[in-house]
Symmetry: C2
Subunit: 335 residues, 2 copies
């Protein structure tokens, strides 16, 4: 019979009691080194591994941490954005000896998610709020386990939660600096939808930095975060400000769309017009010319949020309840 060996088997083989075997394996100091060695040897010989379920039951901890992700558009936008923090968080959680459990927030049926998080399946959660996921943080406020969020609180109600987010305004400032450093002064911005808070902050940061430099941030043309929308917005922009020489698009897709309008209008990039995108996605790398883009530190966000969740679980969390991580600029050929 090939039943999995238990601690009893190890103890028997080593000629000690269960308690001693447990102590030896846990590495507790109150064990005679000779006995500990015997136990370890026995464990190795039997191929013993501790039964996670038994440990979980006794300890009252599941030994698992959830990663909650918006499931909305698997193919579309959020894919590239959520993949990085998911992987980073998974790595941290696994390295901490916990099971990373991936949970999808399907939008509808949030109840089920909350129930799962409350039922003892996991000890803590990392919640990725980037894009979509409307007010999930509020729903999760009542969950009886520690939660670390990637993204920003959707309202005051979740102000007592823990958050890790990218410095959106700072990213806007970096975009401004990039254009200013390239000697551009006739600027303009291609905005996203107004309801998207982070997008507004990017623009705010951009405008602030421009004004600090004594430069007019220029007109702000609104639109959706889509390629065609970017093309249309850029066409509109060229009508409003034909002499534009520096554009900040708050999304790579919009920037890529804008490139087409510029090419169609006979403007050379970056000679006539420089353009900076946002997010540094594969689209930025593959557009023609490749886009200079502001990169959000998605891995870093995931890593920090996971560490935060583990620290909350251990009761050792410290520092501010909102961490802001700086963005960086990936320079390519559009500036």
């Amino acid at each position: 019979m090939s039943r999995r060996p238990t601690l009893v088997d190890v103890a028997r083989l080593a000629g000690v009691s269960r308690a001693t075997a447990a102590r030896a394996i846990a590495g507790q100091p109150t064990v005679d080194p000779a006995l500990a060695a015997r136990v370890e040897e026995a464990a190795r010989e039997l191929g013993y591994t501790t039964n996670p379920a038994a440990r979980a039951l006794r300890r009252g901890r599941a030994g698992a941490v959830a990663i909650v992700v918006p499931a909305s558009d698997a193919q579309g936008q959020s894919g590239p954005f959520t993949a990085a923090p998911i992987r980073a968080a998974t790595r941290v959680i696994f390295d901490a000896g916990q099971q990373p459990v991936l949970l999808l927030d399907e939008g509808r049926d949030t109840d089920r998610l909350v129930r799962h998080l409350s039922a003892g399946h996991v000890d803590a959660a990392v919640v990725i709020l980037l894009y979509e996921s409307v007010e999930l943080d509020q729903v999760l406020a009542d969950v009886p386990i520690p939660v670390a969020h990637v993204g920003r609180p959707s309202s005051e109600r979740s102000a007592d939660g823990w958050f890790v987010e990218a410095d959106q305004a700072g990213g806007g400032r970096q975009a401004a600096e990039t254009l200013l450093d390239a000697g551009r002064h006739r600027l303009a911005t291609l905005a996203g939808p107004d309801h998207f808070g982070p997008g507004r902050e990017r623009l705010q940061g951009f405008a602030d930095r421009c004004r600090e430099a004594g430069v007019d941030p220029g007109p702000r043309v609104p639109g959706e975060y889509e390629l065609e929308a970017g093309t249309r917005a850029a066409e509109e922009l060229l009508r409003q400000r034909p002499d534009v020489d520096g554009i900040f698009a708050t999304s790579d897709l919009v920037a890529a769309g804008a490139l087409r309008a510029l090419a169609a209008a006979g403007r050379r990039v970056p000679d006539d017009v420089a353009i900076v995108g946002f997010d540094d996605t594969v689209v930025a790398a593959t557009s023609d010319p490749p886009l200079t883009s502001v990169r959000q530190p998605f891995d870093e966000l995931g890593t920090r949020a996971a560490r935060l969740a583990l620290a909350l679980l251990a009761g050792t969390a410290e520092g501010p309840r909102r961490q802001v991580v700086p963005t960086t600029v990936t320079v390519r050929e559009s500036t």
Copy 2:
């Protein structure tokens, strides 16, 4: 005190024994309906949920299924390819009442992965082999839990495993048909690296279909799956076969790169040259013009593999050990 309610609490409140309460909650038929109602009422009142650890211990099942993913290039290629099957598998596993546990295969330290899969943390595994992950299927052959793979066996040794894969050759055939239907007969292919088996099959399928139609599949220009490589390969192709009017690129990135070479050479797409990509990634959607591309059924693969893993666990798996799922063609403006 706010200890989580246990079955004992429910039983006491309902005035029955633990055993009866357990039976009632499990929905077993051998319970007086009146008592069952009382138990359910009590459970609801107390907010009882069964303790997963206790259940796992008693049942000898962890109640979790792993999803193993290559961690290699989080930012790069595999991101878009693995995201879809991950999500699909996650959904299926969660809907089956199990915890989806995400595990990264970091390449090095495969031992740790194997140990985790063998230690009782999970009851089964879905392993995503798409791209990279060399021979992971062989390493996992000895894991004592059922494993369902997405992708193909890397050798004969893993022939007794369970696999779900996309019909690569079929995809190549579809690409050929798309070009033939568009009336193109002066064809050529842009290949990937030779060691990449699925890429070879795509070309084989393409060539087979061409020959069936009595058309020469044309020259095959090799290269890497990268944008610049695509440009260079297309330049070479235009030298080899200046009159080409239909190109099959075995990757969207290569196709997108080729578009640049074609544009530079003054060829209009699709008027002068039609081109079909592979994978239907965001690059296909955002290139200029947008690429017609062969789409691999990544969600379907993930869904099927997860269902397979659950079936293997339940002992109800049937059908062939290798399932092949057809690709589809997403028609855009390049053909």
